[in-house]
């Protein structure tokens, strides 16, 4: 190893042809030393995202109050190298069709806010990170949506689970009881969000078992929803994007109906996330489809 580093440290400064702008090397090139190094895995410096999404009204509702948004970009040039993805699931509520108004307003407002503050900065002639932090921008988008819903659809509300992928970090803004999951290639499913529901809170306090919670008459009661209440604070967390596996966002029409084991099985049925997504929705409908169903499945290949 010392040998390699010796070579590295003594490497000649790169000579730039005049007129050419020196830039940060796109990839860090390890020196060749085939005798001692196993050939490195061929990989880009950013994750290639493969995405499917699906939405269904279910079998027992006459209108769909869920809304979803999925946007995936890979950008590779001399100046910059980025994976950018924005995925949102919102599950609206409130009478007089205001639920679907709220969920629609939520995804459009946040998508627009983040596109302007974050995504467009990647496309600037001289790309530079924004002044605000990524979490501040997500927070700003959520607050913006909160205000818009309070104004345009008073009395209504919506859950919101928004996932922002920027290179190898993912940041999740979350309100309500839609969920984000991470599924490892080994098949373990982990919830990345915390339900803002009364039953979940009572389970956390040891006042309810999960069996009792699943049949509790108030299992749909949320203590936090977009468009409801002031002051208002979403949960915002940043996690490393898994090296491989799946990330899933979904409304309770999926996770409340299809068991975790079944979700794991269906995700792995097809390497195509769009097909897997459709299986998930079909499974929820096969189980009675009591609620609107939305799912976004993001595959991070090995």
């Amino acid at each position: 190893m010392t040998n390699i580093f010796q070579k590295l440290f003594n490497r000649e400064k790169p000579q730039y042809i005049s007129g050419e702008v020196p830039t940060v090397p796109v990839t860090y090139e390890k020196p060749e030393d085939k005798a001692t190094i196993t050939p490195p895995k061929i990989q880009l410096d950013f994750p290639l995202l493969n995405v499917g999404c699906s939405r269904s009204v279910g079998l027992q509702r006459d209108h769909n109050e869920d809304a979803l948004f999925a946007f995936t970009t890979h950008l590779a040039s001399e100046e910059s190298l980025h994976a950018f993805g924005l995925y949102i699931v919102a599950d609206g509520m409130g009478g007089h069709k205001l639920g679907e108004v709220a969920s629609g307003l939520a995804i459009r407002t946040i998508a627009s806010y983040i596109t302007q503050r974050l995504f467009l900065s990647l496309l600037a002639p001289k790309p530079s990170p924004p002044e605000e932090s990524v979490q501040e921008i997500l927070q700003g988008g959520v607050q913006d949506a909160h205000r818009v819903i309070m104004k345009e659809a008073p009395g209504s509300g919506t859950t919101l689970t928004a996932l922002l992928i920027l290179d190898k970090q993912m940041t999740i803004a979350h309100v309500g009881d839609s969920r984000a999951y991470a599924l490892t290639p080994e098949g373990s499913l982990k919830v990345l969000t915390r339900d803002h529901s009364l039953v979940m809170r009572m389970m956390e306090l040891g006042q309810l078992t999960s069996e009792e919670a699943s049949i509790h008459p108030q299992r749909n009661v949320l203590y936090r929803a977009l468009g409801q209440g002031e002051p208002f604070l979403p949960d915002i967390n940043t996690f490393p994007l898994p090296e491989s596996g799946h990330i899933m966002l979904c409304s309770d029409g999926l996770w409340g109906v299809v068991s975790e084991n079944e979700i794991i099985r269906l995700i792995n049925v097809s390497p195509n996330p769009q097909v897997a997504c459709q299986y998930l929705i079909d499974a929820a409908n096969a189980a009675g489809g009591p609620d609107n169903i939305s799912a976004i499945l993001i595959r991070v290949p090995d």
């Binding site: 590295l8 940060v24 979490q135 290179d167 306090l205 009661v221 002051p231 609620d291």
Partner: protein, 629 residues
């Protein structure tokens, strides 16, 4: 998501505009001249108005407007009837903490209540405008008054009245510093079509209220929640419901007496039967607190029930140097190595503190040594990086920079990376001490570099933060507003560091993008420590902070008596951190509760190190202490 729809007809006519407010100058009932908006609630606005029946004096009233959103005519008229019944009831109440109700009327889809105009500020506004904690005696006085009016309502005949909505924004503080309740549950009548799935952020409500039960014991809980908010400045609407016990009052505001904390805890019990069973019982308890704290402050010392002070904690051993110890010790193979301002690097037997050897440099040593094979590596203010044999203390090699070294070395892949006041980041061959490369940063580097996945991260005194690759090429650079003396910590692809600009930064290690920023009250030069998803660090405001690393959410804070310039470590399930107040603190790492503190005779600016059952800490009182934990 299910919603209960009370009204039947659904149609585009349902989307009526309810946000329209009355303009100043509007005359209601040919009597109330609207002057302006006092506030806007979920049901409608509250206006300040002048009562024109008193033409010769200016009589101000508050006019509360409630918009009837029900579309079904039967439901609408039921709501109006209920409203009028409640208004009649409230108009009959006579208590100095309840505003008089003068009048009520309904116009189209809106109903109005005309009330006594209360001067002053509501408690939420007062809280928002008061950065410091409000004095306990003042809060206790308000609390007694609130219990008094609650006692009045709960004993009302023939039917008791439950306030249902006790929270700071519903409590006015008048110019005489007395409380007045301003919003009775009357508005609840108008919340049709919203029940069922949503309850909003009612952070003050007890668990049973979510089942639709409103009892006097629910008011007791909400009063406890209100007092908790007032004393801690932590808004329960921003926290999970029923989570008050996770943030005890005195942990956030140590000035509150234990007696008052106990009263609040009893009011906030999950099960109603465990709370005070009446407002008068709670009032008596509060009066007891007032008596007790009043007397106690004269005759006994505070902190009687505080955790053991550690004053009795005897060090396993202590070793005296010839000058201040400002840097941090390191443990290796049964020995402790520490640099001192007396220019020497000491090697001591870790078990008994016996002197092994000392190695003299030509100036003070303020950093933490590192180990490479059988060498001890450290920088000195004599401009040099020294490599000394661990066993003998004899020099192997030295490497010269052009300025004092205050940064600590970082070693990876056979290379030492170290910053110097000469503004360069140096890469030195660890075996030979030969120069590999140096990178100019533009200002002194006192931050200790961290090597992570083929990159080197460090801050500079000009506020630049660099990410270099192993060849010394700048991969990215970030600029803070003031110096970055703090050394970075890296976990899960995120690099964390504090700055003298009073901000703690979390940056994506790959791109340098800011993930979050957390604002301290004062500058920070402390190095963060990450354990699981928790980040621990200190700041010049004297506080040891624990934040959630993924979100920057504050988990707890512990206030010491002076600046925290050293860095915390987590060992077993405790945080150990020194302070300029001279103490080494041992805190429970999940809650921040004090386990013990150990007093040295001078400020502590270094970082402890732990091995086995022993924590080692240097102090500017010239001693290195070994404490059994």
């Amino acid at each position: 998501m299910e919603t209960q729809q009370i009204s039947q007809d659904i149609g585009p006519e349902g989307e009526r505009d309810t946000s329209q407010q009355l303009q100043a100058g509007t005359n209601l009932e040919d009597r109330y001249l609207i002057q302006g908006v006092l506030g806007i609630g979920g049901m409608g606005a509250v206006y300040r108005a002048r009562d024109l029946h008193f033409p010769n004096v200016i009589k101000l009233v508050a006019v509360k407007e409630m918009v009837n959103r029900a579309l079904d005519p039967v439901v609408r008229s039921t709501i109006v009837r209920n409203f009028e019944r409640e208004a009649n009831l409230l108009a009959s109440l006579d208590h100095r903490a309840i505003p008089r109700i003068y009048d009520y009327f309904s116009l189209n889809e809106r109903s109005y209540l005309v009330l006594e105009y209360i001067q002053g500020h509501d408690l939420e506004t007062l809280l928002n405008n008061t950065p410091e904690f409000i004095a306990e005696d003042r809060v206790v006085r308000w609390a007694v008054e609130l219990c008094d009016v609650m006692e009045f309502l709960h004993n009302h005949k023939p039917d008791i009245i439950v306030f249902r909505d006790m929270k700071p924004s519903n409590v006015m503080i008048n110019p005489q510093d007395h409380i007045v309740l301003i919003d009775f549950g009357i508005a609840k009548q108008f919340q049709v079509g919203q029940k069922g799935t949503m309850i909003g952020t009612e952070g003050y409500s007890p668990p049973e209220q979510y089942r639709g039960e409103a009892t006097p014991l629910a008011d007791i809980y909400a009063l406890g929640a209100t007092l908790h908010h007032v004393l801690t400045h932590r808004d329960p609407r921003l926290e999970a419901p029923f989570s008050f016990s996770e943030r005890p009052v005195r942990q956030i505001n140590p000035n509150v007496s234990p007696a008052l904390e106990t009263v609040i805890n009893i009011a906030l019990q999950y099960n109603p039967e465990d709370r005070y069973q009446s407002a008068s019982e709670m009032k008596d308890a509060l009066l007891g607190v007032a008596r007790e704290t009043g007397i106690l402050s004269k005759i006994t010392l505070p902190g009687k029930s505080a955790p053991k002070s550690g004053e009795g904690l005897k060090p396993v051993w202590q070793f005296r140097c010839e000058d201040e110890i400002r840097g941090s010790p390191i443990y290796h193979n049964g020995a402790i190595y520490v640099g001192c301002y007396d220019n020497n690097l000491y090697s001591l037997d870790a078990e008994h503190g016996n002197f092994n050897w000392k190695y003299p440099t030509e100036s003070g040593i303020v950093s933490k040594p590192a180990i490479f094979e059988d060498n001890l590596i450290f920088g000195s203010e004599d401009h040099r990086l020294h490599a000394v044999y661990l066993r003998t203390g004899k020099v192997n090699w030295t490497y010269y920079t052009s300025g004092p070294i205050r940064s600590s070395p970082s070693i990876a892949e056979g290379y030492i990376f170290i910053g110097s006041d000469d503004t360069y980041m140096h890469a030195v061959n660890a075996l030979t001490g030969r120069h590999a490369w140096r990178v100019e940063s533009g200002s002194p580097i006192r931050s200790t570099p961290v090597v992570h996945e083929d990159n080197i991260y460090f801050g500079t005194e000009a506020g630049d933060f660099y990410c270099l690759d192993y060849s010394g090429t700048v991969k990215w650079r970030f600029k803070a507003k003031r110096a970055i003396t703090s050394s970075p910590a890296i976990s899960k692809g995120v690099v964390y560091f504090g700055s003298v600009d009073s901000v703690l930064y979390a940056l994506d290690a790959k791109s340098g993008w800011v993930i979050w920023r957390y604002r301290f009250g004062k500058p920070s030069i402390s190095t963060p420590w990450i354990e699981e998803n928790l980040l621990f660090t200190g700041a010049v405001d004297g506080v040891i902070y624990c934040l959630e690393a993924s979100s920057s959410r504050e988990i707890w804070r512990f206030t010491t008596q002076h600046q925290v310039t050293g860095s915390p470590i987590v060992f077993n399930d405790s945080v150990y951190c020194g302070s300029v107040d001279g103490y080494l603190y041992c805190l429970e790492y999940r809650t921040g509760r004090l386990r013990w503190k150990f007093q040295t005779k001078g400020p502590i600016t270094g970082t402890p190190t732990a091995f086995g059952d022993i924590v080692y800490i240097g102090s500017t009182d010239q001693h290195l202490y070994a404490l059994l934990v």
